[in-house]
Amino acid sequence: MLSVQHVTKVYDGTVRALEDVTFDVSKGQFLAVIGLSGSGKSTLLRCINRLIDPTAGRIVFDGVDVTAANEAELRRIRRRIGMVFQHFNLVHRSSVLTNVLSGRLGYVNPALSIINRFPAEDVHKARLQLERVGLADKASNRADELSGGQQQRVGIARALMQDPDMILADEPVASLDPVLAHSIMQYLEQINHEDGVTVLCSLHFLDLVHRYANRAIALNQGRLVFDGPPDEIDDQRFKEIYGKEAERVG
């Protein structure tokens, strides 16, 4: 499904955010990406759909070389990869429905979408997705009128509109309270189980990793330091991933 090969990212010629990262993800996996703040989790996820261009290495998604894709090819790859963000990244002043519909932008004809015309079946589908995340009655509200948890559900609905084969979630629950965190994680789990969508999710809390992921990779200063099932993360591993200081604080 996804193959990340020797990916390195150097920001501004000095900051080495990723260092020779290699791993494969097979279809239907729920993969957690863990690591300290600044270890390169966001950078890794953004390299996969090339919101950030990797400095070196190759990324292959479903047999297509993402790193070598031109603009048109890249758009066709991106529309199959949904993305969910820590800060939700909704367009605040647009309606919830428009936010969800914008998940279709990679499919609809650009000429029509610039005048805000979406095919009727897309609108229907957007309403179904909103229903699925329990926000059918909020369709015409402005996105910034929603609470954080609701906004993240809209973010998930937007990603689902893409009919994704894979979802990249960058700390989707880091700005939510624990109860909401579980409800959002359950949506991702449901999408993973029912729709067979591969999920790559960076997480801060190990209990969430244990609970939802069937595999974890860990980054430390841009290097891959762990790759395996979450329950293999014992004290020894924990120290390797989070460093010695983590023990003292935790």
Binding site: L51, N70, R75, G82, S94, L105, N116
Partner: protein, 604 residues
Amino acid sequence: MNKASPLKSLRLGLFVLAALVIYAYGFQVTDVNLDEIQSETRQTRLARIIRALFRPDLFEYEHEEFQVNTPISVPCPAGGVLPTPRPTAGEPYLVLTPPCADPRAEVTVEGFNFEPNTVGPLNFIPPSGVSLTMANVETDSDGHFAISARLPNRPSEEVQTIRAITRRNVGAPMWSQNARDTWSKIIETVFLALLATTLATILAVPISFFAARNLMRDVTTSLASTALAILAWPAGILIGASVAGWVGQASRMLTASLAIHVGAIIVGPLLIWGAARWAVPPEERRVPTIWLRLARQAALLVAVVISVLALFLVAQLASDLGAALRDRLGALGFLGEFFADLGDIVSLLIVPIAALAAGAVVGSLASRLGQMLNEHASGGLWYTLHFGLGILGGTVLGLLIGGAIGWLYEISDPVFTRALPAALGGLGGLALAVRTHAGRPVAIGLTIYYLTRTILNALRSIEALIVALVMVVWVGLGPFAGALALALHSIAAGSKLYSEQVESIMPGPLEAIKATGATRLQTIIYAVIPQIIPPYISFTMYRWDINVRMSTIIGFVGGGGIGFLLQQNMNLLDYRGASAQILAIAIVVATMDYISSRLRERAI
């Protein structure tokens, strides 16, 4: 701790000394002159102006005139003066002391029983009947006045007359001529500013995207694609201009008969709609074949040509209808005039806009071709294309710039307008090709960004008043010149403000929309525009506000609006007249300020 050291004190002392010198020099160059301010004549003049400014010339009244005559002999006759007839009780009368006098002698004239609190001239009427003003009189609350005035040098045998004329205001106050002029000019001012702001906003919004770093930063292409675009743009412009010109001529055949004209306007859009429906499918999951794509492009091309034709026809119809309405609508004739003007403007603009659009389309097609060549060519072919196109593109760019320089400085020597720029451009292209030979992209976005910024900054630094001077030369005196000047300045200033708004939007939504596979244009429409609407509205209102203020003074250089009237009154020393204009400006500016701040609140 922060201890006071001698070095620090010394630095502070030097600083104060430097400030002193700077201010002293400032006083000298600004000619601060306190003696002049305090001189008596200056002060009375200032007082006069201030008083006049507080009495704006706004109202006038119907007058009722009273004339009272009294005979006078100049000089005194040999046989003594005739006795003055006794006044009838209650009627106004004049008393002269002395009753006769030599020419140029002082006499005292007293008036009784006049209307209280009125003013008017005191005239001397010689036998010729041409009255000479001796003085102005002002009656007190009892209807009395006394004034001493010098007789004119008009000796005569006959008895002559002194006449006091007083005027009284009757009826309700009416707007004075000055007030009416002020009204029509302030309206002109507001609309001049509105037109300038509208025009400027329409142009500044798209320009501001090119001047926003966060949008342009990521736009990169290969050298081949850039070079092909440079080659294609001028070609596209030429094609667009000639096709649009040709369509314009063709449209004239259809406008001969009204029935065909109207019929064409109805059929045209249907054809366009049909073609667009077929060529722009709502959603596609797989990449269509190249032939289907080509056929669609062809259909779109036909639709565009028909659109241009339809635009010409509509413009012509608006122009004809407007002209017909202008003569029939009476007081609303300006609406007809407006339609006619709109039609004329559209038919004037079609060709340049079509030329630019064609340039853009052909340019972007060529750029895509370049991108394709860049991806699919390899080895020697790639190098040939890369270097060949790089040099060719540089040469053409050099030739274009050379042509512009030749026109600007009226150089006809082909060495300077052709050979040299072409050679330099070619070398530049070669240098770029060497720099990017390892497949590094050309940062075309940042180049456009810096270019736009530079032009905007240069334009912005030229005050609207100065632009107005140029525009007056181009389009003649009047509000149109002013509107153009304000528009040009507002485009530059507005684009900068707008682009700063674009630069400060939240990057999150932008990233999210990009991640859905949206194109650049879709990203702008779905992630950028919703975020910038409130500041754009508020800046546009603010700009209108500024333009109203600017247009009050743009009249000083002949740019129409109220400034012209103000300047005229100032030059005639009619400060009461000028005061009315200043008042009008103050009211309009305050109102605009209020409205714009209210609207800005609403928009956020």
